[in-house]
Amino acid sequence: MANVLGVSHTSDMVVRSKAGMSDRTFSILLVAPALAVILVFAILPLVYALDVSFRFADLTRGGIREYVGLDNYRRVFSDSNFWTAGWITLKFTVVAVTLQMTLGVGIAFLLHGMTVGKGLVRSLIILPLATSAAVTGLFWRYLYDTQFGVLNWILGSFGLPEPNWLGDYTIALWSVVIFDVWQWTPFVALIALAGLQALPREPFEAAELDGASSWRVLRTLTFPLLKPVLFLVLVLRTIDCVRLYDAVAVLTRGGPGTSTETMTFYLYRTGLKLFRMDYASTMAIFFLYVMLVAAIFALTPLLKQFTDRAKEA
Protein backbone atom coordinates (compact mmCIF):
# COMPACT_ATOMS: atom_id res chain seq x y z
CA MET A 1 0.00 0.00 0.00
CA ALA A 2 2.82 2.32 0.77
CA ASN A 3 4.00 1.93 -2.80
CA VAL A 4 0.66 2.92 -4.22
CA LEU A 5 0.63 6.11 -2.29
CA GLY A 6 4.05 6.96 -3.59
CA VAL A 7 5.79 6.49 -0.32
CA SER A 8 8.74 4.32 -0.95
CA HIS A 9 11.44 4.95 1.56
CA THR A 10 12.77 2.77 4.25
CA SER A 11 13.84 4.48 7.38
CA ASP A 12 17.35 4.35 5.97
CA MET A 13 16.69 7.03 3.44
CA VAL A 14 16.06 9.69 5.99
CA VAL A 15 19.38 9.27 7.73
CA ARG A 16 22.12 11.39 6.31
CA SER A 17 25.69 10.44 6.93
CA LYS A 18 28.22 12.78 8.34
CA ALA A 19 29.87 13.10 4.97
CA GLY A 20 26.70 14.67 3.66
CA MET A 21 26.12 12.25 0.80
CA SER A 22 22.56 11.03 0.85
CA ASP A 23 21.77 7.37 0.77
CA ARG A 24 20.37 7.82 -2.68
CA THR A 25 23.61 9.16 -4.09
CA PHE A 26 25.57 6.44 -2.40
CA SER A 27 23.38 3.71 -3.82
CA ILE A 28 23.58 5.17 -7.29
CA LEU A 29 27.36 5.41 -7.07
CA LEU A 30 27.57 1.77 -6.17
CA VAL A 31 25.55 0.69 -9.15
CA ALA A 32 27.13 3.09 -11.60
CA PRO A 33 30.20 1.13 -12.74
CA ALA A 34 28.32 -2.10 -13.42
CA LEU A 35 25.51 -0.17 -15.02
CA ALA A 36 27.88 1.77 -17.24
CA VAL A 37 29.49 -1.38 -18.55
CA ILE A 38 26.18 -3.08 -19.23
CA LEU A 39 24.62 0.01 -20.78
CA VAL A 40 27.43 0.51 -23.22
CA PHE A 41 27.87 -3.07 -24.20
CA ALA A 42 24.31 -4.27 -24.08
CA ILE A 43 22.43 -1.25 -25.34
CA LEU A 44 24.80 -0.16 -28.06
CA PRO A 45 24.89 -3.49 -29.86
CA LEU A 46 21.12 -3.79 -29.63
CA VAL A 47 20.57 -0.31 -30.99
CA TYR A 48 22.99 -1.16 -33.75
CA ALA A 49 21.20 -4.42 -34.49
CA LEU A 50 17.89 -2.59 -34.51
CA ASP A 51 19.26 -0.14 -37.00
CA VAL A 52 20.66 -2.81 -39.28
CA SER A 53 17.41 -4.74 -39.14
CA PHE A 54 15.79 -1.90 -41.03
CA ARG A 55 18.43 -1.78 -43.70
CA PHE A 56 19.68 -3.88 -46.54
CA ALA A 57 22.89 -5.52 -45.42
CA ASP A 58 24.41 -8.26 -47.50
CA LEU A 59 28.05 -8.35 -46.58
CA THR A 60 29.00 -10.13 -49.77
CA ARG A 61 27.64 -7.24 -51.73
CA GLY A 62 29.28 -4.30 -50.13
CA GLY A 63 28.03 -4.04 -46.61
CA ILE A 64 25.38 -2.13 -44.82
CA ARG A 65 23.26 0.09 -46.98
CA GLU A 66 20.05 1.97 -47.26
CA TYR A 67 16.89 1.66 -45.29
CA VAL A 68 14.28 -0.77 -46.45
CA GLY A 69 11.75 -0.31 -43.71
CA LEU A 70 10.03 -3.44 -42.57
CA ASP A 71 11.01 -5.56 -45.57
CA ASN A 72 13.55 -7.58 -43.65
CA TYR A 73 10.92 -8.46 -41.12
CA ARG A 74 8.52 -9.47 -43.86
CA ARG A 75 11.15 -11.63 -45.44
CA VAL A 76 12.14 -13.28 -42.16
CA PHE A 77 8.56 -13.97 -41.14
CA SER A 78 7.83 -15.67 -44.42
CA ASP A 79 11.00 -17.74 -44.22
CA SER A 80 9.95 -21.27 -43.39
CA ASN A 81 13.45 -22.09 -42.17
CA PHE A 82 13.04 -19.40 -39.55
CA TRP A 83 9.86 -20.91 -38.17
CA THR A 84 11.31 -24.40 -38.38
CA ALA A 85 14.27 -23.23 -36.36
CA GLY A 86 11.91 -21.75 -33.82
CA TRP A 87 9.98 -24.97 -33.64
CA ILE A 88 13.16 -26.97 -33.19
CA THR A 89 14.29 -24.64 -30.43
CA LEU A 90 10.93 -25.03 -28.74
CA LYS A 91 11.01 -28.81 -29.00
CA PHE A 92 14.53 -28.91 -27.67
CA THR A 93 13.83 -26.57 -24.78
CA VAL A 94 10.68 -28.28 -23.61
CA VAL A 95 12.13 -31.76 -23.67
CA ALA A 96 15.52 -30.83 -22.28
CA VAL A 97 14.19 -28.68 -19.46
CA THR A 98 11.54 -31.21 -18.47
CA LEU A 99 14.11 -33.98 -18.35
CA GLN A 100 16.59 -31.89 -16.42
CA MET A 101 14.03 -30.75 -13.90
CA THR A 102 12.53 -34.16 -13.20
CA LEU A 103 15.84 -36.00 -13.14
CA GLY A 104 17.49 -33.22 -11.17
CA VAL A 105 14.81 -33.08 -8.50
CA GLY A 106 14.74 -36.85 -8.34
CA ILE A 107 18.49 -36.97 -7.82
CA ALA A 108 18.21 -34.28 -5.19
CA PHE A 109 15.76 -36.38 -3.22
CA LEU A 110 17.99 -39.38 -3.69
CA LEU A 111 20.96 -37.51 -2.30
CA HIS A 112 19.08 -35.78 0.43
CA GLY A 113 18.55 -38.94 2.38
CA MET A 114 22.15 -39.97 2.23
CA THR A 115 23.98 -40.32 5.47
CA VAL A 116 27.49 -40.86 4.25
CA GLY A 117 29.50 -39.72 1.29
CA LYS A 118 27.25 -36.85 0.32
CA GLY A 119 30.16 -34.53 -0.27
CA LEU A 120 31.89 -37.06 -2.45
CA VAL A 121 28.82 -37.64 -4.57
CA ARG A 122 28.27 -33.92 -4.93
CA SER A 123 31.85 -33.46 -6.05
CA LEU A 124 31.54 -36.17 -8.65
CA ILE A 125 28.19 -35.10 -9.96
CA ILE A 126 29.29 -31.54 -10.45
CA LEU A 127 31.96 -32.54 -12.97
CA PRO A 128 29.93 -32.24 -16.19
CA LEU A 129 29.07 -28.68 -15.21
CA ALA A 130 32.69 -27.73 -14.98
CA THR A 131 33.42 -28.80 -18.53
CA SER A 132 33.10 -26.65 -21.57
CA ALA A 133 30.20 -27.56 -23.82
CA ALA A 134 32.29 -26.86 -26.87
CA VAL A 135 35.13 -29.08 -25.70
CA THR A 136 33.28 -32.02 -24.20
CA GLY A 137 30.64 -31.76 -26.88
CA LEU A 138 33.31 -32.34 -29.44
CA PHE A 139 34.38 -35.45 -27.64
CA TRP A 140 30.82 -36.67 -27.45
CA ARG A 141 30.99 -37.01 -31.21
CA TYR A 142 33.39 -39.82 -30.58
CA LEU A 143 31.09 -41.30 -27.95
CA TYR A 144 28.21 -41.14 -30.39
CA ASP A 145 30.20 -42.60 -33.24
CA THR A 146 28.45 -45.57 -34.81
CA GLN A 147 31.60 -47.55 -35.46
CA PHE A 148 34.00 -46.71 -32.67
CA GLY A 149 31.77 -45.08 -30.14
CA VAL A 150 31.63 -46.69 -26.74
CA LEU A 151 27.98 -45.78 -26.29
CA ASN A 152 26.73 -48.01 -29.06
CA TRP A 153 29.06 -50.76 -27.91
CA ILE A 154 27.50 -50.68 -24.46
CA LEU A 155 24.02 -50.71 -25.93
CA GLY A 156 24.93 -53.53 -28.24
CA SER A 157 26.23 -55.63 -25.38
CA PHE A 158 22.84 -55.41 -23.75
CA GLY A 159 21.13 -56.35 -26.96
CA LEU A 160 19.65 -52.88 -27.30
CA PRO A 161 19.37 -51.13 -30.65
CA GLU A 162 22.36 -49.06 -31.71
CA PRO A 163 21.05 -45.86 -33.23
CA ASN A 164 22.94 -43.55 -35.50
CA TRP A 165 22.96 -40.76 -32.98
CA LEU A 166 24.23 -37.89 -35.06
CA GLY A 167 23.54 -39.08 -38.55
CA ASP A 168 19.89 -40.00 -38.29
CA TYR A 169 17.87 -36.87 -38.77
CA THR A 170 14.97 -38.20 -36.75
CA ILE A 171 16.98 -38.57 -33.56
CA ALA A 172 19.86 -36.12 -33.97
CA LEU A 173 18.01 -33.48 -31.94
CA TRP A 174 17.49 -35.94 -29.09
CA SER A 175 21.19 -36.71 -29.13
CA VAL A 176 21.83 -33.05 -28.47
CA VAL A 177 19.16 -33.11 -25.78
CA ILE A 178 20.90 -36.00 -24.08
CA PHE A 179 24.15 -34.08 -24.07
CA ASP A 180 22.54 -31.02 -22.54
CA VAL A 181 20.75 -33.15 -19.98
CA TRP A 182 24.04 -34.79 -19.11
CA GLN A 183 25.71 -31.49 -18.57
CA TRP A 184 23.04 -29.56 -16.73
CA THR A 185 21.00 -32.01 -14.68
CA PRO A 186 23.66 -31.79 -11.95
CA PHE A 187 23.00 -28.07 -11.79
CA VAL A 188 19.32 -28.64 -11.12
CA ALA A 189 20.07 -31.46 -8.73
CA LEU A 190 22.54 -29.46 -6.66
CA ILE A 191 20.33 -26.42 -6.36
CA ALA A 192 17.31 -28.54 -5.53
CA LEU A 193 19.43 -30.34 -2.97
CA ALA A 194 20.50 -27.06 -1.43
CA GLY A 195 16.87 -26.07 -1.34
CA LEU A 196 15.88 -29.32 0.35
CA GLN A 197 18.59 -28.90 2.93
CA ALA A 198 17.58 -25.34 3.66
CA LEU A 199 14.01 -26.24 4.45
CA PRO A 200 12.98 -25.54 8.03
CA ARG A 201 12.53 -28.58 10.19
CA GLU A 202 9.55 -27.65 12.31
CA PRO A 203 6.78 -28.14 9.77
CA PHE A 204 8.12 -31.57 8.94
CA GLU A 205 8.46 -32.61 12.53
CA ALA A 206 4.95 -31.42 13.21
CA ALA A 207 3.66 -33.37 10.24
CA GLU A 208 5.40 -36.47 11.44
CA LEU A 209 3.85 -36.10 14.87
CA ASP A 210 0.49 -35.80 13.20
CA GLY A 211 1.18 -39.06 11.45
CA ALA A 212 0.96 -37.75 7.91
CA SER A 213 2.07 -40.15 5.20
CA SER A 214 5.27 -39.34 3.35
CA TRP A 215 3.39 -38.85 0.10
CA ARG A 216 1.11 -36.33 1.79
CA VAL A 217 4.06 -34.53 3.32
CA LEU A 218 5.69 -34.33 -0.09
CA ARG A 219 2.64 -32.98 -1.74
CA THR A 220 1.47 -30.41 0.74
CA LEU A 221 4.68 -29.43 2.46
CA THR A 222 7.85 -30.14 0.56
CA PHE A 223 6.91 -29.09 -2.93
CA PRO A 224 5.10 -25.89 -1.99
CA LEU A 225 8.12 -24.86 0.05
CA LEU A 226 10.47 -25.75 -2.77
CA LYS A 227 8.44 -23.99 -5.41
CA PRO A 228 10.40 -20.71 -5.40
CA VAL A 229 13.71 -22.50 -5.83
CA LEU A 230 12.37 -24.79 -8.52
CA PHE A 231 10.77 -21.93 -10.37
CA LEU A 232 14.06 -20.11 -10.34
CA VAL A 233 15.98 -23.07 -11.71
CA LEU A 234 13.27 -23.59 -14.29
CA VAL A 235 13.67 -20.03 -15.50
CA LEU A 236 17.43 -20.27 -15.62
CA ARG A 237 17.47 -23.52 -17.54
CA THR A 238 14.81 -22.39 -19.97
CA ILE A 239 16.75 -19.24 -20.76
CA ASP A 240 19.90 -21.23 -21.34
CA CYS A 241 18.24 -23.88 -23.48
CA VAL A 242 16.64 -21.30 -25.70
CA ARG A 243 20.03 -19.68 -26.14
CA LEU A 244 21.80 -22.96 -26.80
CA TYR A 245 24.55 -22.70 -29.35
CA ASP A 246 27.80 -24.42 -28.37
CA ALA A 247 26.42 -27.95 -28.24
CA VAL A 248 24.79 -27.71 -31.64
CA ALA A 249 27.87 -26.09 -33.13
CA VAL A 250 30.18 -28.93 -32.17
CA LEU A 251 27.91 -31.93 -32.22
CA THR A 252 25.86 -31.57 -35.33
CA ARG A 253 26.41 -28.14 -36.86
CA GLY A 254 22.72 -27.91 -37.45
CA GLY A 255 22.60 -31.19 -39.29
CA PRO A 256 21.84 -33.64 -40.60
CA GLY A 257 20.11 -31.33 -43.02
CA THR A 258 18.59 -28.77 -40.73
CA SER A 259 17.10 -31.12 -38.21
CA THR A 260 19.04 -29.68 -35.30
CA GLU A 261 19.16 -26.11 -36.46
CA THR A 262 18.06 -24.14 -33.46
CA MET A 263 17.29 -20.46 -33.74
CA THR A 264 20.69 -19.45 -32.53
CA PHE A 265 22.38 -21.66 -35.06
CA TYR A 266 20.16 -20.42 -37.86
CA LEU A 267 21.07 -16.91 -36.79
CA TYR A 268 24.71 -17.86 -36.93
CA ARG A 269 24.34 -19.40 -40.37
CA THR A 270 22.47 -16.44 -41.78
CA GLY A 271 24.81 -13.88 -40.36
CA LEU A 272 28.22 -15.46 -40.49
CA LYS A 273 27.90 -18.02 -43.25
CA LEU A 274 25.49 -16.41 -45.66
CA PHE A 275 26.56 -12.94 -44.55
CA ARG A 276 23.03 -11.59 -44.54
CA MET A 277 23.51 -9.34 -41.55
CA ASP A 278 20.15 -7.70 -42.21
CA TYR A 279 18.17 -10.88 -41.74
CA ALA A 280 20.39 -11.93 -38.86
CA SER A 281 19.81 -8.63 -37.08
CA THR A 282 16.10 -8.89 -37.72
CA MET A 283 15.99 -12.33 -36.20
CA ALA A 284 18.03 -11.08 -33.27
CA ILE A 285 15.57 -8.27 -32.65
CA PHE A 286 12.64 -10.63 -32.85
CA PHE A 287 14.45 -12.97 -30.48
CA LEU A 288 15.02 -10.07 -28.12
CA TYR A 289 11.36 -9.12 -28.24
CA VAL A 290 10.18 -12.62 -27.39
CA MET A 291 12.72 -12.81 -24.58
CA LEU A 292 11.61 -9.47 -23.16
CA VAL A 293 8.00 -10.56 -23.11
CA ALA A 294 8.99 -13.85 -21.52
CA ALA A 295 11.17 -11.94 -19.07
CA ILE A 296 8.21 -9.94 -17.89
CA PHE A 297 6.32 -13.11 -17.08
CA ALA A 298 9.26 -14.92 -15.60
CA LEU A 299 11.06 -12.16 -13.76
CA THR A 300 8.15 -10.25 -12.28
CA PRO A 301 7.42 -12.79 -9.55
CA LEU A 302 11.12 -13.13 -8.83
CA LEU A 303 11.64 -9.39 -8.77
CA LYS A 304 8.72 -8.90 -6.47
CA GLN A 305 10.51 -11.20 -4.06
CA PHE A 306 13.62 -9.06 -4.33
CA THR A 307 12.00 -5.71 -3.91
CA ASP A 308 9.84 -6.92 -1.06
CA ARG A 309 12.89 -8.03 0.85
CA ALA A 310 14.78 -4.90 -0.06
CA LYS A 311 12.02 -2.74 1.36
CA GLU A 312 12.09 -4.41 4.74
CA ALA A 313 13.57 -1.86 7.04
Binding site: M1, N3, V4, L5, G6, S8, L70, Y73, R74, F77, F286, Y289, L292, V293, I296
Partner: protein
Protein backbone atom coordinates in the same frame (compact mmCIF):
# COMPACT_ATOMS: atom_id res chain seq x y z
CA UNK B 1 0.31 7.38 -11.02
CA UNK B 2 3.78 7.17 -9.63
CA UNK B 3 6.78 7.40 -11.89
CA UNK B 4 7.55 3.76 -11.28
CA UNK B 5 4.09 2.64 -12.33
CA UNK B 6 4.11 4.93 -15.35
CA UNK B 7 7.46 3.62 -16.47
CA UNK B 8 6.26 0.06 -16.07
CA UNK B 9 3.06 0.70 -17.98
CA UNK B 10 4.87 2.64 -20.68
CA UNK B 11 7.40 -0.11 -21.20
CA UNK B 12 4.66 -2.70 -21.56
CA UNK B 13 2.72 -0.42 -23.87
CA UNK B 14 5.71 -0.20 -26.19
CA UNK B 15 6.01 -3.98 -26.15
CA UNK B 16 2.35 -4.24 -27.04
CA UNK B 17 2.85 -1.85 -29.94
CA UNK B 18 5.73 -3.91 -31.28
CA UNK B 19 3.78 -7.10 -30.68
CA UNK B 20 0.86 -5.85 -32.75
CA UNK B 21 3.27 -4.87 -35.52
CA UNK B 22 4.80 -8.33 -35.55
CA UNK B 23 1.45 -10.06 -35.41
CA UNK B 24 0.15 -7.85 -38.18
CA UNK B 25 3.12 -8.59 -40.43
CA UNK B 26 2.77 -12.28 -39.87
CA UNK B 27 -0.97 -12.74 -40.15
CA UNK B 28 -2.80 -9.72 -41.40
CA UNK B 29 -0.75 -8.10 -44.10
CA UNK B 30 -1.44 -10.74 -46.68
CA UNK B 31 -5.11 -9.77 -46.59
CA UNK B 32 -4.30 -6.28 -47.88
CA UNK B 33 -3.71 -5.46 -51.50
CA UNK B 34 -1.85 -2.23 -50.95
CA UNK B 35 1.14 -2.46 -48.66
CA UNK B 36 1.23 1.22 -47.71
CA UNK B 37 -2.38 1.08 -46.65
CA UNK B 38 -1.66 -1.99 -44.60
CA UNK B 39 1.28 -0.30 -42.87
CA UNK B 40 -0.77 2.79 -42.11
CA UNK B 41 -3.64 0.82 -40.65
CA UNK B 42 -1.19 -1.34 -38.75
CA UNK B 43 0.39 1.67 -37.05
CA UNK B 44 -2.99 3.03 -36.12
CA UNK B 45 -4.19 -0.25 -34.65
CA UNK B 46 -0.94 -0.76 -32.78
CA UNK B 47 -1.05 2.76 -31.39
CA UNK B 48 -4.62 2.30 -30.27
CA UNK B 49 -3.80 -0.94 -28.50
CA UNK B 50 -0.79 0.56 -26.76
CA UNK B 51 -2.53 3.73 -25.69
CA UNK B 52 -5.61 1.82 -24.57
CA UNK B 53 -3.46 -0.39 -22.41
CA UNK B 54 -1.69 2.58 -20.89
CA UNK B 55 -4.90 4.39 -20.14
CA UNK B 56 -6.40 1.31 -18.54
CA UNK B 57 -3.37 0.88 -16.32
CA UNK B 58 -3.54 4.50 -15.34
CA UNK B 59 -7.16 4.21 -14.37
CA UNK B 60 -6.43 1.10 -12.37
CA UNK B 61 -3.54 2.75 -10.52
CA UNK B 62 -5.56 5.85 -9.75
CA UNK B 63 -8.45 3.77 -8.44
CA UNK B 64 -6.11 1.73 -6.31
CA UNK B 65 -4.58 4.87 -4.89
CA UNK B 66 -7.98 6.34 -4.13
CA UNK B 67 -8.98 3.17 -2.32
CA UNK B 68 -5.81 3.29 -0.25
CA UNK B 69 -6.33 6.93 0.59
CA UNK B 70 -9.90 6.23 1.58
CA UNK B 71 -8.76 3.45 3.84
CA UNK B 72 -6.19 5.68 5.49
CA UNK B 73 -8.78 8.42 5.90
CA UNK B 74 -11.23 6.04 7.55
CA UNK B 75 -8.56 4.83 9.92
CA UNK B 76 -7.69 8.42 10.83
CA UNK B 77 -11.36 9.19 11.34
CA UNK B 78 -11.60 6.44 13.89
CA UNK B 79 -8.86 7.93 15.99
Amino acid sequence: MTFSQAWDAGFKAILIYVGVVFGWLIFIERLFENQSVSVAVMNVVAAICAVAFFVRRRRYCIAERRAAEAEVASILAEI
